[in-house]
Point group: C2
Chain length 407, copies 2
């Protein structure tokens, strides 16, 4: 092929279920010059980033750090480090990403038990407790916000149930963190992981993780220092984690005071993650959640005012994404393509039982903004009309603008 | 803590064994706006990046892609995808990173056999063949350039030996790729992995991988589509890869025409990796290697002209790093700190048997440059003098400059 030029992406307003457009200052942080792996500036930046993410997670967990990979790298690191082969893991599944937790736990050779509820619903805590009593798992793995259904599983009472039954409690907050309440300590989480590319407003490629002291004890009991840097006195467990890259014990030793060499920290992703957390705390954690709530309500009002149906139990919808029923006769993918080509706006398709039935429209991170919401609704109205749908003129935009005006 | 400001790293000239200062245009690429995961621009950029890396690797392998993680993520993906629990793996160890390959293969539950040679040496192909005949491994895992010793293991005859004995041949080219010859096809590699943060001149966090057809067959025989997106007709092997994130079969389905959802590609790291490869091909693969060779020779001449000893078999030294013996009486870490604090120049410490005995000085990627070499030598001379070493005035700089002038 002829050698291409430097990267020059087209303008996009990313209003799907994620990834979404990053905050401009996060992109600027990504371009900051590199420093060495053990430069005092680097280790200070790592420590600073840990402290910032304690604020994001609402936790005092010392073991708060980043895994160098996408959000699913964080999930796998948590599960493979906490779950021994043969351990029972309970996964309540209410959408695609519950299946993913089960899949990753199966790959880690756990004995996986799932309970399922219909797409568009969440679990009452009683159903989770019943299953815990029946299955007696070592760990409960639960998605908070599942973008495949837009549902936000309440977690606030689950930690107490887990503690009562001696079960480790892990939550995947990839799609929800930053745009919906998350209280790692108050809700009794032992482990939680996320990504940057949803409500945190950064690029995919770094996974924030937080671990309770109890989780760290489990991980430490499986400790093993790698041969190349092992010293006398470094014990090695026969029950070691079946991954080097995802062994959170080693990653903790790298982020901790011992600074034991493991991977080479992905410096640019660290800079980006730090800026995501910094922006969130600068605006204020509750203010950011409120901004997501407002944008989500405005988008919901807008699509409903366009006459479109909405999927799922709205009482448990995440703030940051809505599943909009595709009107009869409208070719869903062609309409999405028209939005992208004519307006530079991306909305999302869907998975599994919802495939072809709904579009998923996100309002998250940088794009949980009034102008992003109104522009998307205006463009959607135009595209729906082009495909022959009778939509009220301007109704979607006005309903959303009314909500922003507090009407 | 008080909320910190945006990231603002100090100026650094990174002349250690990596990570090194990124090319400015790579940093610019990191800041490019994001697009959606299945945006036509995104999938075209992924395909373009694959083609660019075929040029970097010297291969026509269709299965050429990135793993979203640091270089060790690429290593683990290759090993866990190619090696079944119980498979025999042979690792010739000539430095720290051979131990790492053994460690990662052990975590993947392989039966690992190692052969060792003294630090500062490489293996003759005959020693590797003898061990293959004795061990009968399923896979040979071999580091090309091991920065811990600065040695560059010749690989050109190893592929034929592996093919003769029916052994898969994997090489870790993290520290060598781009600065030293690497011929994936001509040398008979079945799998090779690297990182961006060495001779490719980018940030850590993306791992280029290339796989032969034979390797892809092995990986495909272990295929499993995850539950959340499985369709009728998707077979699932009982012998599945013990990792979801590192299952190269799934990653191939994401990068390939089926575009099956797996992780969300780390867009900014993709942009950076693409620019690393693009720059290398724009300058010319052989020209870049020659630039590394020249910078390496100049740095070697410079430190020798300063009267410093050099560790290891110079006939097999990598172009991009040299291990310099710390003169008697000089506190190695204090001297490195002085270089960093007074000159903003970073050189490297060392591991294991060389710890406290040598500094490692790199000349790689963007910093395989005349001004970087001469500035480092000038600063090193000043620091050595401060610590009481009798060094010839200007000798290091002049020897290196002479080499650049072709004297």
């Amino acid at each position: 092929m002829a050698l291409p030029g430097p990267i020059d992406p087209p303008h996009r307003l990313l209003m799907g279920p994620g990834p979404i457009s990053a905050y401009p200052s996060v992109l600027r942080a990504m371009a900051a010059p590199l420093v060495g792996q053990y430069d005092p500036f680097m280790t200070a930046t790592m420590a600073e980033t840990q402290e910032l993410f304690r604020g994001v997670w609402n936790t005092s967990n010392e073991a708060t750090l980043l895994v160098d990979g996408t959000s699913r790298a964080g999930i796998e690191a948590a599960l493979v480090s906490l779950v021994r082969p043969g351990d029972r893991v309970l996964v309540p599944v209410f959408g695609r990403f519950g299946h993913l937790l089960a899949e990753i736990a199966e790959r880690a050779m756990a004995e996986v038990h799932i309970i399922e509820t219909a797409w568009g619903q969440v679990f009452p805590v009683s159903a989770i407790e019943e299953a815990i009593v029946r299955v007696k798992p070592a760990l409960l793995a639960l998605v908070q916000g599942d973008t495949s259904t837009t549902m936000n599983q309440p977690l606030d009472e689950v930690g107490a149930v887990c503690a009562k039954h001696g079960v480790l409690f892990y939550a995947d907050a990839t799609a929800s963190l930053g745009g919906n309440a998350f209280e790692a300590d108050a809700w009794g989480l032992d482990a939680a992981t996320a990504g940057l590319q949803k409500c945190l407003g950064g690029p995919s490629g770094s996974s924030p993780v937080t671990l309770s002291e109890r989780a760290v004890e489990v991980i430490r009991s499986r400790g093993r220092v790698e041969a190349g840097i092992r010293e006398a006195g470094d014990a090695s467990s026969a029950d070691f984690v079946r991954s080097n890259y995802f062994d959170l014990g080693m990653i903790l030793d790298y982020w901790g005071p011992r600074r034991l060499n493991h991977h080479t920290e992905a410096t640019s992703m660290l800079y980006g993650a730090r800026e995501c957390a910094r922006l969130l705390l600068e605006e204020g954690r509750d203010a950011v959640i409120a901004r997501h709530r407002r944008a989500g309500k405005a988008m919901l009002a807008g699509v409903q005012a366009l006459g479109l149906g909405v999927f799922g139990d709205l009482a448990h919808k995440m703030n940051n994404v809505v599943a909009v029923e595709i009107p009869d006769g409208v070719p869903g993918d062609a309409a999405r393509a028209a939005l992208l080509e004519d307006f530079g706006i991306e909305i999302g398709t869907s998975f599994g039982p919802l495939h072809g039935r709904v579009w998923r429209i996100g309002t998250m991170g940088y794009n949980a903004r009034r102008d992003a919401v109104l522009s998307t609704l205006a463009a959607l109205e135009a595209v729906l009309r082009r495909f022959g749908v009778a939509v009220p003129n301007g109704g979607g935009v006005e309903a959303a603008a009314d909500l922003y005006r507090g009407a």
